[in-house]
Symmetry: C2
Subunit: 574 residues, 2 copies
């Protein structure tokens, strides 16, 4: 089915039944109510005019619905990607200027092209370079950075900075400008949101409301806070009498047709950030999509996801938006409200479009402080100490990657954090494989099993050293092996045979192959022969192809036991 | 023996016998004769005054003799390191100026400090990041670059350039300045050297000369060429009548005491090149040292080698020299001439010092063309197509690393080549491990062995999928495993158990651990349980430590056979 191959929507539209419609319609309504304040807030977080958030919630949703492989993922502006956008475009123009919004379009366009290219070339595995600890450290630190950045809106002061130190410094120096009424609105919203988060769902269930409905009501709390505070500000005209900052006038109308500008220097400068935003957005989104799909026995195709998210970002660039990706909370609400297919996303897009046409006056009195409070509560949930504790217990190297990534994000910035994290996790992996575990093994009496002489009571022969190497052999650890075997032979002067047991060796590269030849040569000079045992099939094919086995002083045995038996006989009958 | 631990010289001096002396003295004499023209030529190659080559052949040799772990390695200026020096300091000042020589001192100092630091922190394994194919491509391309750069001296023209294209272009535009007499000297020397290389040793042996003596005579050919052409130039005053370029006046006197200048910006700018020079010099030198030591059943300590070479470079910086390392041809001559200990190097240093005091007038008429010819013949021997052919046959990824490194050296420059090579070989390794080989296995009838169902006739049960994974599981391949297992289970709807056979799994990092938990969860949702078999001891300890095994839906079996037996029973008696 070639059409469904490139256009997953064709598949689910063909099977679309009347039963699917009510769920999709209800989900669209609920997601729209949740998405309106979120999209305004995330645009604000990115330093863009509020309507940009609404624009990013129309066409991109339809583009993903057509090309994405998840049935229920809800795409749109999200916190971490908005922060990365703010960081990337902040260097080009001051927030609020035309150049700033223009840079956001270019960023979305490049990010979309990058994802499309990865998807079409089936290079999605590149996203795997972001390890779980690096992602965890990155997201947690980004959440702290976002929350700290939003505090200024809760306090009603001006402050900005690309890292935590700059931000806190700027806030401290403006602290006395704090606006009491704004704090009342912001802090009040925070308390309300934290309480509903913690207790509303439980309280409602105790009153007899069903579990799903109670959960949805809990998720609706931000909407309640936004509506209530907007009404209070409008009624008391707090923006005039008390200086409370509000969203203000939003131009009404459908998302405009925009073209990302063709300024090549800006393109070049934004390209690395666009690639990072694309990859981070993809990694976050695809794990949400996997989780949702597993619950309904559906499947996610990572390369198709790249195409879907790429198309969504390109659509954002052509309709006055900014970078988008799949959101976690929003997708969960979508599923809980009954969404069956991406038609729910299409309905959501239509509802948001209607809002941009006729509802913008209703957003006029919305206070910045309440939007900031909803962001803070949303991102604090992203802080993940569990992974740190787990990594610390299981693997210190991974824990270090997590901590370094987080510290780099907090003290330098988001891009530095990602780059440091990836570099460190690759270095940590190379380090781990650079000193392979070597075990001298002996026979478990009465069996054909061979075990580590240090851990078990086993039989050995002084003239045969059977060494199991628990790692693939490649350039990073080849010399280590050479030294280790030279040391072993020096320590066992009676040795006449070294049997290298290769059950854990999945590959041998050219460097290691030459090192093995050198080891063999050096052993021969000392009157010792090198044998191999338990070489895996594909590896054996390759070694045979280059004639390595003929050049070897010793033989190749199928099993350690065969090697020991045969070499022992050789001694008795030389 | 703590003294011998940090000062290997203390060890061999204590055991020094009267028998060792004649060999060390004769070797010192022969190496000195070989080293004088070489050191002048390599200084010229680095763009430095000729005496700098002599200075780099005095104190550095003594420093290595004290701290190095090889008994017979001969240290001094070598071709590839001289090329790297020319490339690094060429950006700071024009060749021949004081700033240029000053930059060479700083480069030697930083390179020495870097090596000392690696050695004292026992970080020698970092040099392993240079894989054999990358080194081979780097050396071959450097040799081509050096030979091309020396051609101008053979032709008697001016030309310079940091890469092959620039060099050839510069030579082409100056081709008509070529000097016929210079070409006669240069080309004549080249023909003589190539002939002696190919046939002299064999011709002498046919005349009854012993093998070793004939070999040494072959190695002495450059000295014969240098002496003969110098005499011809002096006798016919070719530098005046024909414009043949000669070495000219060399200030007589011992190596001066110099201090690397404290210009921090220059230090910062030279630091990356210094680190690369240090690592490349170390890698080249340590493999020579290993080869020499193996022949005499001696041992090389790589960390001590770092200290020895580091001390040699620091000594070069304080005595008017430039970066040095262990040379291959020179060390072979040293051994062949009978050197027993590093005392031979100390004697060589004394002889070179005597030459700087009284012999410099003898170098006055030495033509540049003959020095260039000796360099060309020496470096062409470094071009290594064998490794390329071998890598091409064995592993295309390694062959690609080699070719890309060589092309980057030729078209961009030496530093770009090294960096590209290391990055590519790491990327190639990550790529190889990113798609682990997964084999669905079945029982070989009548045995306890389990083999790939695609390669062997084996017995399987529809409700149990036994999957062997031939790779460590870590962030780069964790998601691949997740997809592969999801696909397998989709293709085998009758499956109720998945047994992951971990005999090839040497490590599982935090990312892969979380992925395994996710796989288990997804499988459970589909009514399938996940079991592990043949988990290695150290890995098992770690998994147990974080309670992973209790959370697993299935069990952990010692062997695949135990798993199959037990799960089959479970089906019969659920």
């Amino acid at each position: 089915m070639p059409l469904a191959r490139y256009l997953p929507a064709a598949q689910w539209l063909r099977g679309y039944g009347r039963d699917d419609l009510p769920g999709d319609l209800i989900a669209a309504g609920i997601v729209t109510i949740m998405l309106i304040p979120q999209s305004l807030a995330y645009a604000m977080l990115a330093g863009l005019p509020p309507q940009v958030g609404l624009y990013a919630s129309v066409l991109p949703l339809i583009a993903y619905a057509a090309f994405g492989s998840s049935r229920t993922l809800a795409v749109g502006p999200v916190a971490v990607v908005s922060l990365m956008t703010a960081s990337a475009i902040g260097e080009f123009a001051a927030p609020g200027t035309a150049g700033h919004a223009e840079a956001a379009l270019i960023l979305a366009f490049l990010s979309g092209l990058f994802l499309l290219a990865l998807g079409l070339m089936r290079l999605g595995f590149l996203a795997n370079l972001l390890s779980h600890p690096v992602i965890s450290g990155f997201i947690s630190a980004s959440a702290v950075l976002i929350a700290a950045g939003q505090l200024k809106h809760v306090l009603g002061i001006e402050a900005s900075g690309g890292n935590l130190i700059a931000l806190l410094g700027a806030m401290a120096s403006h602290a006395r400008d704090a606006n009491a009424t704004t704090i009342a609105i912001g802090a009040g919203s925070l308390v309300f949101l934290v309480w509903t988060n913690a207790s509303l769902s439980r309280a409602l269930q105790r009153l007899g409301v069903s579990g799903t409905a109670a959960d949805l009501a809990g998720k609706a709390a931000p909407v309640i806070a936004v509506v209530a505070t907007t009404i209070v500000v409008a009624a008391l005209r707090l923006h005039e009498t008390q200086g409370v900052k509000i969203v203000g006038e939003i131009p009404a109308g459908l998302p405009p047709l925009t073209l990302p500008g063709m300024q090549w220097r800006v393109w070049l400068d934004l390209a690395p950030a666009a690639a990072l935003i694309g990859v981070v957005g993809f990694v976050e989104s695809v794990s949400v999509a996997h989780a949702l799909a597993a619950k309904r026995r559906q499947k996610i195709d990572p390369d198709q996801e790249l195409v879907g998210l790429g198309a969504a970002n390109v659509a954002a660039a052509f309709s006055g938006g900014f970078p988008v990706t799949g959101g976690f909370a929003r997708s969960v609400v979508n599923v809980a409200a009954g969404a069956n297919t991406q038609l729910a996303a299409v309905f959501t897009a239509v509802l948001i479009a209607i809002a941009t046409l006729w509802l913008t006056p209703a957003f006029y009195f919305m206070p910045h402080a309440v939007l900031a409070a909803t962001i803070i509560v949303a991102v604090l949930r992203l802080i993940d100490l569990r992974t740190l504790a787990h990594a610390w217990k299981y693997d210190r190297g991974d824990a270090l990657s997590l901590v370094v990534t987080a510290l780099a994000v907090l003290t330098v910035g988001v891009e530095a954090g990602i780059v440091a994290g990836v570099a460190l996790s690759i270095a940590a992996y190379l380090w781990r494989t650079s000193r392979p575990h070597l075990a001298l093994v002996g026979q478990v009496p009465g069996t054909e099993h061979y075990r580590n002489v240090l851990r078990h009571r086993v039989l050995t022969r002084p003239e045969i050293l059977a060494v199991r190497v628990d790692e693939s052999l490649y350039f990073v650890n080849a010399r280590y092996l050479e030294n280790a075997i030279a040391t072993l032979v020096t320590e066992h002067p009676q040795a006449r045979h070294v049997v290298l047991i290769c059950s854990g060796v999945n590959l041998i590269d050219v460097s290691a192959l030459e090192t093995l030849a050198a080891i063999d040569e050096n052993l021969q000079a000392a009157g010792v022969r090198l044998h191999l045992a338990e070489v895996k099939g594909p590896l054996m094919d390759r070694l045979a192809r280059v004639g390595f086995l003929e050049g070897l002083s010793g033989r190749v045995f199928l099993s350690t036991h065969a090697a020991m038996e045969s070499l022992a006989l050789e001694k008795d009958h030389p």
